[in-house]
Symmetry: C4
Subunit: 211 residues, 4 copies
């Protein structure tokens, strides 16, 4: 695991992003070519994984570089298309200043959303909340938005959720029937938040009684 | 994981099939010498794994080459027998043009079938459906057939299910109490569909209330 | 995984037994220094793992050679004690001619026993039964015996269960609150039966409704 | 796995502690930078993992050496802070003479605590208890303490629980909504007890009926 340590220290995040895609695939957080990830290339652009490929097999040279403001493709590997997540990644980065965003298709996120109400997933009573920079006595509220036919059509709802005062402490937006978007100030923090939120989703599902 | 990437790009699918057998064994989709896999040798024949051996330990030179139309064994490794799945694999390939078929013994497939009715597993309300080339608003119907004493006696029921208009969008036939057959146009797509269907089986089981 | 293939072909089973201990530990079938394994040294003696050590860290030179008939220790590594399972392993080998016996502490075996009645675990309705050389239409009955304070005090009950006509098709004896003993004619078949029985235990637990 | 065997035999425990952090992270017992571990540097001081970092990526040279009696930092790696667990680790080591303490954030510990009553988790009816040096006929009682906002504020309650006659056989204190602290006389025994207690937590959760 010292390898991942070195990759996380590399100013170019692409090899660390590939390592996380492999780890997340092994955990079933991304699978079947679904899910995605991005990291900052510089202040103005992101490295975004391609679409329609086995994400755990993506190589560093296959990331697209996309401008954060306009969405322009600045560097494009041959024969690939950028992830449909790109507009959502850009909206989250613009609103939060995140350095890395993860799009998970974990079943635990879908099941946690099943138990949410009124577009809000309320999480409380777990020490693990501290991993989000939140007190363990807090009620941590995460937005749950409705899924759409096209992934890019989620962009407005994600942007609205990220701007909502109620969710100011959240580093995650859950998409019902779909998964979640979560982020951190850099790739290492995105990894941390990915582990924390997926633990919390599993905990919520385990604590709720079955109907 | 760059290894699997290279194996999937090899025109000879046998090393990739071995890698998938190892991965599927680690996931408990094949175990106890059960399960199987095939890939195309050419337009007219398939490479089929042997029967009665630990599938995750199969080597590339141990695959049988079998003609798709007649089922003739064209190349046979010494001391082995071809999988009993071969007639089923051939029926699926003839009807769908698939380049690779996976036979899974996953518990999730068995449990999902427990909750199906009238020979149909209806799957809806999941973004993950897109991994099958289906809209996430669709109701995706998969045939569930009754198990038989001899594996080869499943062939007619599989062939009927694959030809059934209701299941035109499906890349899978579930066998109650047994597992499933699933396929893709090549080994990479079969891997993708394997991940998608097993995710969906687990999701269906998790969403259904227990009796 | 080609390594395990070569180890299973080695007439000396000790390296294969070490590999299985590592695999079974990763699957939580043995843990906390519990569980055990043996294989044949020759017609008259067994290689038995030591007691009180982390089983997944055992080395080939640390197995005890023990005579099947008398239980005499024929070869003893310095500073270790043979597993308390040795008398049970010997009883199973004498009665069944098994070439390898596995002692599992899997939670799934304990939970399956919770749902058994009258000292019998009845398993039916699973294709996976074929991995035991049983028809998938059979009702496969496995003895469930009561746990004892000392492991060696299980020996008589195991010997009785193995000699019982009702359990003639079984390659396993379940010990309530404890785990199971299972076997095969050689290490490869013991591995196969281990995978099959643990799959079946998990399936039974998943199918039974919760109280 | 022979590597871990050698690491456990090293008088300097730091490489073994790093290996366990990697193993425990893979098992989800520590995640999201949470959890921790310590081992003895000598009779008077402990090696304690740093806080706020991905524990599975910690390197041997990044442990703090802290005096058991006064809590003085004797060796400090640059740019890191010692774990907030340090006072709790010291309290456990002083009271029990433990050589290694593990702080787990496992979901199974949290869920087991949900089912406890009156500050006690009663565990009985499992062979696995023997891994704690306890008879399998015993009722093994483990203290469950209430979580606090600051981790160091758990110290008094942990010290009280460890000194409580009722819990004399326990090598673990559970913290509700949080996880547990568990220990052994050396790193190898702490590993054993970690495996045993987590197995027991999972078993208790599986046996309790859902509301």
């Amino acid at each position: 695991m010292s390898d991942l340590r070195e990759l996380l220290a590399d100013p170019d995040p692409r090899r660390a992003l590939c390592a996380l895609l492999q780890d997340f695939h092994a955990r079933d957080w991304i699978s079947g070519t679904g899910g995605g990830i991005c990291g900052r290339a510089d202040a103005d652009s992101l490295w975004v994984a391609p679409t329609g490929v086995h994400k755990e097999l993506v190589r560093p040279e296959e990331f697209f570089r996309i401008s954060i403001e306009e969405g322009t493709v600045l560097d494009a590997p041959a024969g690939l298309e950028p992830s449909e997540c790109a507009p959502i990644f850009r909206a989250i980065v613009r609103a939060t200043g995140a350095g890395s965003v993860v799009h998970s298709h974990a079943l635990s996120a879908v099941l946690a959303a099943d138990h949410s109400g009124g577009g809000v997933l309320s999480i409380s009573g777990f020490e693990m909340l501290k991993g989000l920079g939140v007190k363990n006595t807090a009620t941590h509220e995460v937005a749950v938005i409705v899924n759409t036919e096209r992934e890019r059509d989620l962009t407005d709802a994600v942007a609205t959720a990220v701007a909502d005062e109620r969710f100011a402490a959240a580093k995650c937006v859950v998409v019902a029937d779909h998964g979640c978007y979560l982020w951190g100030r850099d790739v290492a923090e995105a990894k941390k938040h990915a582990e924390v939120y997926h633990w919390l989703f599993e905990a919520l599902v385990a604590r709720w009684p079955r109907s």
